[in-house]
């Protein structure tokens, strides 16, 4: 209590110092006066009385000084003095100040922006209770001789594991999909939905904000349809109406009652079913429906790996312990149930599973932007060093007057701290813009995208970062002030003597370090650029230009799969749509396929050959697509062998085209034409006959070709269709016409996506493009900074050596020789730094490998190109100062001595 009061009173004393000083003065004067008065009364002479009074008082100055020190906060007052001094110094050199603040603001702004992405996506815990105990549970399959593969979950296996486990507190199984949702009188929308076991929110630890949670009875067969909405879904469909509970939505055409609304901030993570199976187009989850297990779910023990599962570990149980236990359970079941497959388990912490696809790229970006800031700091350190040299006299005077070492260092460091804080504040402000920029660039499937913001932790990070930056670029110059010998410094009459060899060596080492960082960054940038251009420029096997694609989902009541004639209805809709689209102006050809191109693997199935049965795990996996005879023409895919589909196949639609890769993998060394494929049409009755082989395409994603099987939609029409239109008309004009044509046929179908194929293609590489754009800008910034760094150091060194150059010229040295001299001086740190950078790159590049597409990390073009770029920049930076050295006027240089 006394301490606090004392502290408060000390801080209070920081203000109104003049009055307090006057007070003290007056008080002490009164003391002396009173003493003199008393002494006089005792009979002393006036001068004796005064002397005695002062003697009894003791040293007035000392007392006042002690008093003042106790009154205020000496450390703070010292700081204030330092800050005032630094401020004056900075105002004297506005060029330096502005350069430094701008460099720092940009650097800190960039790092902070990237950090806010890293923080939101990778660091911030998910908004679930004890989210570190949540794991994604997938099954694994092992076959002797082949690799262990990770698979989605089987419903029966989930039920059994949940019953037998001792390490999991609970587990929920679910399916993420788009569902058609409409409010009366509106076209339906496709909404991200989770069809889940009713315990999902108990597993996650989330409670509805309105209404109630699912109960187990909601999933029972014949229970009324109910749904829960996300906060966003509540806003979208009911405008945030608080009386939403009990109201109905049409989901897939059927009414469903809203029983609850989840709180804002509850965002369901996108869980990939398995490493190579995407969950479909990136739709933000808005709705939850209970999962009622089908007959198949409750009986299929070997197929039906169709679900994702999230489990909550019991408190104190590690992921490894749970994995070990579940693996044992799966192995035991494999043996006891005599399964033809060997089951295992694959657990992954939820947070890292959600970001597994992007974390490498994000960390790389973060490292790159950190590198840029480091390079910027080195530039500032060099500038500060130069300033410290010219301030040596000043430092010497302070040291001679008795300033302590700590005070000397602080006096110089204060300047750096001030620059960094101003730069940091400006940088944090810039980060708000930077984050918006990153959000524009960021791929829409970036997990947790909507959580990215400049939050308090991000701002704290910016402050810490600026302080760290100040230390990085301020500490060397500050420590140099300790080496100042007052006598030598004060005797020296020009800066020449003080500019010791040591100082220039420090600067050269800094430049070398900067160059090394830049080389690494440039190599990484060029590698990523090469990888991206390779991905874009390779042969895709199809032509996306002039093609517009409309995705249509058939989820209205007339398509309900309970209806006996649903197949005919779907077929009729598809036929009518193809005809209608064909009649739009400018349309050359129209076709249909069952999956939106470039959205990853979908409808993955095993290829079974009745003439050549294989054990389950050895059957090749293929992507199944339902098309018509115009697919090859619209996509411009060449036929390699056999024949294309024809309209005549409609009578007997059980025929298939396969891609070359499927031919290689399923019919190695054989002629596939005429062979049969069984169990592929959902009716489970018909086999299909291969009639043709078509060229491979990268239709699922540019990274790889896909093993495809194409069957005409006359054999089976799926509920999700993509109409592809090749037209001379621009997509922009075509899109509204296509929408109108489709809704004219059925206003109750949903059109979740309608865009040009080129746009779809460009979006499919948005993650890579994001990485390329960001890294390239960081690489360019690094190069520019390195250029400035080399230039700054050389220019400064040349300016200090003017007299020397003057003498050399006077003694007959040629201009070329002088230029060589300066260039050689510049070459040392640059070449040293480049060498160090190369070595560093060899060590670091293995972390980049996984981010590259068909590009070796030791790509000679990337490495050679980076070195060339850097050397060219360094040469450019050194030539200007070298020219100035060569143009030194000997008379003027000597006269200034």
């Amino acid at each position: 209590m006394d301490r606090i009061r004392t502290l408060l009173s000390r801080f209070a004393a920081l203000f109104g110092k003049k009055k307090l000083d006057a007070d003290l003065d007056e008080e002490l004067r009164a003391h002396i006066d009173l003493a003199i008065h008393e002494n006089l009364k005792r009979g002393m002479s006036p001068s004796e009385a005064r002397t005695a009074a002062l003697r009894d008082f003791g040293g007035v100055t000392q007392i006042m000084e002690t008093y003042r020190l106790r009154r205020g906060v000496p450390f703070l007052q010292q700081m204030t003095r330092n800050v005032r001094f630094a401020f004056r110094q900075l105002r004297k050199s506005p060029g330096f100040t502005i350069t430094s603040v701008l460099t720092l603001a940009l650097g800190i702004g960039a790092v902070t922006s990237v950090f806010s992405v890293v923080n939101a996506v990778l660091l911030k815990p998910l908004a679930f209770r004890d989210s570190d105990r949540l794991v994604v549970m997938r099954e694994a399959m092992e076959e002797p001789g082949s690799e262990r593969s990770v698979e989605p979950d089987n419903y029966l296996h989930y039920l059994r594991l949940k019953k037998e486990t001792g390490t999991l507190a609970d587990a929920a199984i679910f399916m993420q999909r788009g569902m058609s949702v409409s409010t009366p009188g509106d076209h339906p929308r496709i909404v991200g939905s989770v069809v889940t076991s009713p315990n999902i929110f108990r597993v996650l630890g989330v409670q509805p904000m309105l209404g109630r949670d699912f109960v187990d009875a909601d999933a029972a067969k014949g229970a009324p349809n109910v749904v829960l909405l996300n906060y966003e879904g509540w806003q979208a469909f009911f405008g945030g109406d608080p009386k939403v509970i009990g109201q109905a939505l049409r989901v897939g055409g059927d009414p469903a009652i809203v029983i609850g609304v989840l709180p804002p901030g509850m965002r369901f993570p996108r869980i990939e079913l398995a490493p190579n199976i995407a969950v479909g187009p990136p739709l933000e989850t808005m709705m939850y429906a209970p999962l009622t297990p089908s007959e198949w779910d409750l009986t299929a023990d070997t197929g039906n790996f169709n679900y994702a599962a999230i489990a909550r570990l019991k408190a104190g149980v590690t992921v490894e312990q749970a994995s070990a236990e579940l693996e044992t359970l799966q192995n035991a079941y494999t043996v006891s149930a005599r399964l033809p497959i060997h089951l295992g388990i694959a657990l992954a912490p939820l947070a890292s599973d959600v970001t597994s696809g992007i974390s490498g790229a994000l960390w790389l970006m973060f490292a790159a932007v950190g590198g840029v800031l480091l390079i910027a700091c080195v530039n500032l350190a060099n500038l500060q060093l130069a300033r410290a040299v010219s301030a040596e006299r000043e430092t010497a005077v302070r040291a001679a007057l008795g300033a302590s070492k700590g005070q000397l260092v602080m006096a110089r460091l204060t300047e750096s701290l001030m620059l960094a804080l101003v730069g940091g504040v400006a940088g944090a402000a810039l980060a708000f813009i930077g984050v918006q920029l990153l959000l524009v660039l960021a791929p829409s499937n970036l997990p947790r995208l909507n959580e990215i913001e400049v939050s308090l932790p991000v701002l704290l990070f910016a402050v810490t970062l600026s302080l760290a930056a100040a230390l990085v670029f301020g500490i060397l110059p500050a420590l140099r002030s300790l080496d100042v010998h007052p006598q030598a410094a004060l005797q020296a009459n020009s800066s020449r003597t003080v500019n010791s060899r040591e100082g220039s060596r420090t600067r050269s080492v800094l430049v070398a370090g900067q160059v090394a960082c830049t080389v690494v960054l440039l190599i990484v940038t060029l590698l990523v650029l090469r990888s991206f251009s390779r991905m874009l420029r390779q042969d895709r096997g199809f032509d996306s230009s002039h093609v517009t694609v409309a995705q249509v989902d058939l989820f209205s009541p007339e398509f309900a799969d309970k209806l006996p004639n649903v197949s005919a209805v779907k077929l009729a809709f598809t036929d009518r749509s193809l005809t209608a689209l064909q009649q739009l102006p400018g349309v050359q050809s129209v076709t249909v396929t069952s999956a939106m191109p470039l959205t990853g693997e979908t409808w993955v199935d095993e290829l079974k050959r009745p003439d050549h049965p294989l054990p389950e795990a050895q059957r090749p996996l293929i992507n199944l697509r339902w098309i018509n005879q115009d697919y090859l023409a619209v996509m411009q895919i060449p036929l390699v062998a056999g024949r294309n589909l024809t309209a005549a196949d409609r009578a007997n639609p059980y025929v298939a085209l396969i891609s070359e890769r499927t031919a290689r993998e399923a019919f190695p060394g054989e002629n596939p034409i005429g062979r049969k494929i069984s169990d592929i049409v959902p009716d489970d009755v018909h086999s299909v006959t291969v009639i043709g082989v078509v060229a491979d395409t990268r239709i699922n994603g540019l990274k790889d070709t896909a093993a495809m099987v194409y069957i005409p939609y006359w054999a089976y029409t799926p509920w999700t269709l993509s109409f592809l239109v090749r037209s001379s008309q621009a997509s922009d004009a075509l899109i509204p016409e296509m929408r109108q044509a489709l809704w004219a046929i059925d206003p109750q179908v949903a059109i979740p996506s309608l865009r040009s194929m080129d746009e779809q293609l460009s979006d499919s590489v948005s993650t890579e493009r994001f990485q390329v754009v960001v890294l390239t800008s960081f690489g360019a910034a690094a190069l520019l900074l390195a250029l400035l760094g080399v230039y700054g150091v050389m220019a400064y060194s040349v300016s200090l050596r003017q007299q020397e150059f003057g003498v050399r010229i006077a003694l007959g040295s040629g201009k070329a020789a002088l230029m060589r001299l300066v260039l050689r001086q510049a070459a040392y740190p640059v070449i040293l730094g480049a060498g160090a950078g190369l070595m560093l790159a060899f060590v670091l590049l293995r972390w980049v490998r996984s981010l590259l597409y068909e590009t070796p990390v030791l790509d000679p073009l990337a490495i050679g190109g980076s070195l060339l770029l850097l050397l060219a920049a360094a040469a450019l930076a050194a030539v200007l100062p070298a020219r100035r050295a060569a143009l030194t006027d000997p008379m003027r240089a000597l006269r200034t001595e």
């Binding site: 009061r5 008080e27 002490l28 009173l34 003493a35 008393e38 003791g58 007035v60 106790r70």
Partner: protein, 112 residues
């Protein structure tokens, strides 16, 4: 700064100031210094000036308060008064001091 006279411990000086203010009522710095000199019978010498940092310390803790007033010679001077907290603290400190002094006295007596 007589070398042969004992230096005054900080806490002791504080207590002396408090006690002086308690017995004399509001008093200026000079008065306090003189009073301490008189009471101690010149057995301890302190520069009168040392009283001021001590007064500041007590002010900061809130044990005393200060006001400008007029001295007996009609000179403007700062007068110090004991506060309520100060009075309580003084009683506590006095007790402490007496205990220590008693202990010390017994200790010294025994070792004689």
């Amino acid at each position: 700064m007589g070398g042969d006279k004992s230096d005054v411990l900080q806490g002791t000086l504080d207590l002396m100031v408090l006690k002086t203010l308690e017995s004399m009522g509001p008093l200026h710095g000079y008065g306090i210094a003189r009073r301490i000199e008189q009471v101690s019978g010149n057995s301890l010498s302190l520069n009168q000036g040392t009283i001021y940092p001590a007064l500041l310390r007590l002010l900061q803790r809130g044990w005393i308060k200060a006001e400008w007033g007029l001295s007996e010679t009609n000179r403007r001077a700062k007068f110090y008064t004991l506060t309520k907290i100060g009075r309580k603290q003084m009683e506590q400190e006095t007790e402490n001091w007496e205990r220590i002094a008693g202990t010390m006295a017994r200790f010294l007596a025994q070792s004689n």
